[in-house]
């Protein structure tokens, strides 16, 4: 085979591989609980499994149920930090045209989660409770690695009437910073001591930027040319950015049916956000005259993100003063979370050797980036999610010190389906404790979430997901 043909084969074969990498990073399957903007924040709440809608009686109230703000009596300042580690482990799988080795995607993240200040104002018989808060609603401060994933792929190329076989290993690293934040202004009121209502306005800001690098080390062979063995070592890189700008509101109500029995409800509205995004794909084989790597493909543009609505209800009961038990349910309309006019590369593009493919503008689901058109199989479509959360808190009371112990359990359906088309469901356990001395509280919560789902219905491989998150909250009430 002469040199020019060889180069063409290599280039042509590599392109789908490069584009596959793009799909991977945008297809990170992370749990619904990662989206704090959907549920709330605070180590005390998460220690109780997140069942906080009908409690919401501290400075994190606006993130769970702004109706709870009306209960607060003293000014309070809270800051929450988070550590997160999740793993997606998929065993080796065999398809008709490829074979993947076991994949272990390991992601770590640590950073700020929530900051709030509440100041109840009481003048005579009037009380209103304003709060301002800042929350990292979706965290993209992630470092991920996936090492030594073995890959074998075959592809028939009619233009050379041969089957290309490439074997090797992938290594991936992803480094992203930033996240989507909300700046929130909330107001709570209390009527007749038993009815509390509240509202929040959330300004969604910022976004993420980062890079994804995939390195392949292997060989390329041709089935009908046994003497053709070409080493393949290349790196595909992508730089991605995304910024979001939008406004939504939350409404909440919390009613004391009895002194020790409360119900609550919250609604978080959907909204349209302007999205600026860009993707630039680099591939080592593409260099300019000076030997600098040039983009294979780049795209930037403005789209519109339709963020889903969320609603939740909760019930809490206090059989004795130190013990509280609560139950919540939350639903989020992820089936309606869409980015409109998102640019995707065409499935087949350009003449051989003629350059990168063109692009199309389609509506895609967020965050899976799967097109929403009718040609997409049902199992690729995004689904509405539901969380059921159960929690308890018991407070040991000393002279000037309180020591709470918390436990929780939750179920967490995901916005994607498994290979058989069934909605993926995870579940989790939480635990936490804290210390309160006079006005100062420090709380710690640990959340463990896990679940399995069918990754392939051809060889019935199962992906195992597990995530550990910990939160530390520090609060001071004046």
């Amino acid at each position: 085979m002469n040199k020019s043909i060889k180069l063409t084969v290599i280039l042509f074969l590599l392109l789908p591989l490069a584009l596959m990498g793009q799909q991977e990073v945008q297809n990170i399957k992370i749990s619904d609980t990662t989206f704090s903007g959907v549920v709330g924040s605070g180590a005390r709440a998460f220690g109780m499994g997140g069942a906080f809608i009908s409690i919401a009686d501290d400075a994190t109230a606006a993130s769970w149920n702004p109706g709870g703000l009306g209960q607060l009596e003293k000014p309070e300042l809270t800051i929450v930090t988070r550590y997160q580690n999740f793993r997606d482990v998929t065993p080796a799988s065999q398809g008709p045209f490829d074979h993947w080795g076991a994949q272990d995607l390991n992601t770590n993240s640590v950073g700020f989660d929530f900051l709030a200040f509440t100041y109840p104002i009481r003048i005579g018989n009037f009380k209103i409770v304003p709060q301002v808060s800042y929350q990292r609603a979706i965290n993209f401060n992630l470092d991920s690695t996936m090492n030594d994933v073995f890959y074998t792929g075959v592809e028939w190329h009619p233009e050379i009437r041969d089957t290309a076989v490439f074997r090797g290993t992938f290594n991936e690293t992803q480094n992203f910073t930033g996240g989507i934040d909300t700046i929130t202004a909330s107001l709570g009121f209390q009527f007749f001591k038993v009815i509390n209502i509240g509202a929040s306005v959330n300004f969604w800001r910022n976004g993420y930027e980062g890079s994804f690098d995939r390195t392949f080390n292997g060989v390329l062979t041709l089935e009908n040319h046994p003497n053709f063995i070409e080493p393949l070592d290349f790196t595909t890189s992508e730089d991605l950015t995304m910024d979001v700008n939008g406004v939504n509101y939350n409404l909440g109500i919390l009613i004391s049916i009895l002194d020790n029995l409360k119900v609550g409800a919250v609604y978080k509205s959907n909204f349209s956000a302007d999205v600026n995004h860009s993707i630039t794909v680099f591939e080592e084989a593409f260099v300019d005259d000076e030997g600098q790597v040039i983009p294979v493909w780049e795209r930037s543009g403005q789209s519109q993100l339709e963020w889903p609505e969320t609603w939740g209800v909760g019930l809490s009961f206090r059989p004795i003063d130190p013990l509280t038990i609560s139950l919540d349910m939350t639903e989020t309309r992820w089936s309606k979370a869409i980015i409109k006019r998102f640019r995707l590369p065409e499935a087949e593009g350009g003449e051989p050797g003629g350059g990168p493919p063109g692009h199309v503008e389609v509506d895609v689901y967020f965050p899976t980036f799967v097109p929403t058109d009718d040609f997409v199989p049902d199992q690729e479509k995004q689904l509405d999610t539901r969380q059921i959360r159960l929690g308890m808190e018991y407070i040991f009371i000393g002279r000037n010190t309180l020591v709470p112990i918390r436990l929780g359990f939750f179920t967490d359906s995901q916005y994607y389906s498994d290979a058989a088309g069934d909605q993926v469901n995870f579940f989790g356990f939480t635990g936490g404790f804290g210390v309160k001395w006079r006005g100062l509280s420090i709380d710690l919560a640990v959340i463990y979430e896990t679940g399995n789902y069918l990754a392939s219905n051809q060889d019935f491989t199962t992906t195992r997901f597990s995530e550990i998150k910990s939160y530390i909250s520090t609060s001071y009430s004046f």
Binding site: D58, E73, N125, R318, D321
Partner: protein, 377 residues
């Protein structure tokens, strides 16, 4: 959107803000306001707030949950009684204190009931203003603690049950008997109007170390006169009349300054008077008269510390012990100065341990909580 619609929405929001601000106080809001009023001595306001709190939450409770992770001790009847007492509403105050006494909580009942007993007695005393004078020296008390080293050569002070038992023996007689005795001794005269009362409460008088009255010098001292005075003094001491005995021995010292017998007996009598003051303090403690108990203990400790004699060790240990217990118990009742009171208690415990290492507080007479604080310091 039409102008009218916009204005309607704006007006609704404004009304919501105003109406939503209207909020009646919760039971803990009223309770805290009542406590603040008591601190500012606004008794009428305190009564009003406490009654509002009781309208909403009738049951007193320790560690009552308010909002979030906030708990308070909810003792509305006690504070209501305080305010009523200071307003001169003694009957209502007694009723409030009785209801507070009936609040059963094993952790604080022992401490609390003593204080309440004292308050109820004060109220009754106010309603019946003729004081019941009781002089400890007019009874025939047996010394409850014995001075070890200062023993007269021929006459031993009578040892009492107190000395034979442990230092924390029960007082003679049940505390309830003391209340019934006081109740029987209530005078039948009509109470004087309030403005005529000059003292806030009636106190049982403590034995006082009187300054011996000088006896005019006869110009010439005679041994016979001194011996007579000494003999009289001994007789008075044996009869328990320590103050008059002190007077006799002091008179001997006036006319015969270096008289060793008189000096020795004077020392013994003064010791006994100190012990008597201590005994009074102990008696007041078990009777629930905490303020008088503290006064007596402070006098006894001061007198014994000034003497600086090893013979006082056991008595000092007893005095420090009761003072520490009293301070610890007061700590649970008075949040404002609780840390200062507790520090004073720790000082007392340190003094006990310095005098008597390995000292153990007996649990029979004091609450386990107090015993635990003792053993942990």
């Amino acid at each position: 959107m039409s102008q009218l619609k916009k204005r309607s929405i704006l007006l609704s929001c404004l009304l919501l803000v105003l109406a939503g601000g209207l909020v009646a106080d919760t039971w803990f809001n009223n309770y805290e306001k009542g406590r603040k009023a008591i601190k500012k001595k606004k008794w009428a306001d305190a009564v009003s707030y406490m009654q509002k709190a009781l309208d909403q939450e009738k049951e007193p409770k320790l560690n009552a949950k308010t909002v979030g992770m906030n708990f308070i001790d909810y003792l509305p009847y006690y504070h209501l009684g305080q305010a009523q007492y200071n307003l001169g509403q003694y009957k209502e105050a007694i009723s409030s204190f009785e209801r507070s006494k009936n609040f059963d909580n094993s952790r604080r009942k022992r401490i609390f009931s003593g204080k309440l007993r004292e308050l109820i007695q004060n109220c009754r005393a106010k309603m019946n203003p003729q004081p019941v004078q009781t002089q400890v020296t007019q009874t025939k008390p047996q010394p409850l603690a014995q001075v070890k080293t200062k023993q007269p050569p021929t006459q031993q002070p009578a040892t009492s049950k107190w000395q034979k038992q442990s230092p924390v023996a029960k007082p003679q007689g049940d505390t309830k008997k003391w209340e019934s005795v006081e109740a029987k001794n209530k005078p039948t005269v009509t109470p004087k109007p309030k403005q005529e009362q000059t003292k806030p409460e009636t106190k049982t008088q403590l034995p006082v170390k009187r300054t011996p009255q000088p006896i005019p010098s006869p110009g010439k001292s005679t041994p016979g006169a001194a011996q007579t005075l000494i003999a009289d003094g001994k007789a008075l001491y044996s009869a328990g009349n320590f103050q008059d005995a002190q007077h006799k021995f002091a008179a001997v010292m006036q006319v015969d300054e270096g008289n060793p017998t008189a000096a020795k007996w004077l020392n013994i009598v003064e010791h006994s008077l100190d012990i008597t003051i201590l005994n009074s303090g102990i008696r007041f403690y078990f009777n629930g008269n905490r303020s008088q108990c503290k006064e007596a203990l402070e006098k006894a400790i001061k007198a014994m510390e000034n003497q600086n004699e090893t013979g006082y060790t056991e008595s000092l240990v007893t005095a420090y012990q009761f003072m520490a217990v009293l301070l610890i118990e007061n700590h649970y009742l008075d949040d404002d100065t609780s840390q200062e009171i507790l520090k004073e208690a720790y000082k007392m415990i340190a003094k006990i341990k310095a005098l008597k290492p390995g000292f153990q507080l007996e649990n029979d007479y004091f609450s386990p909580k107090v015993a635990k604080i003792f053993s942990s310091n």
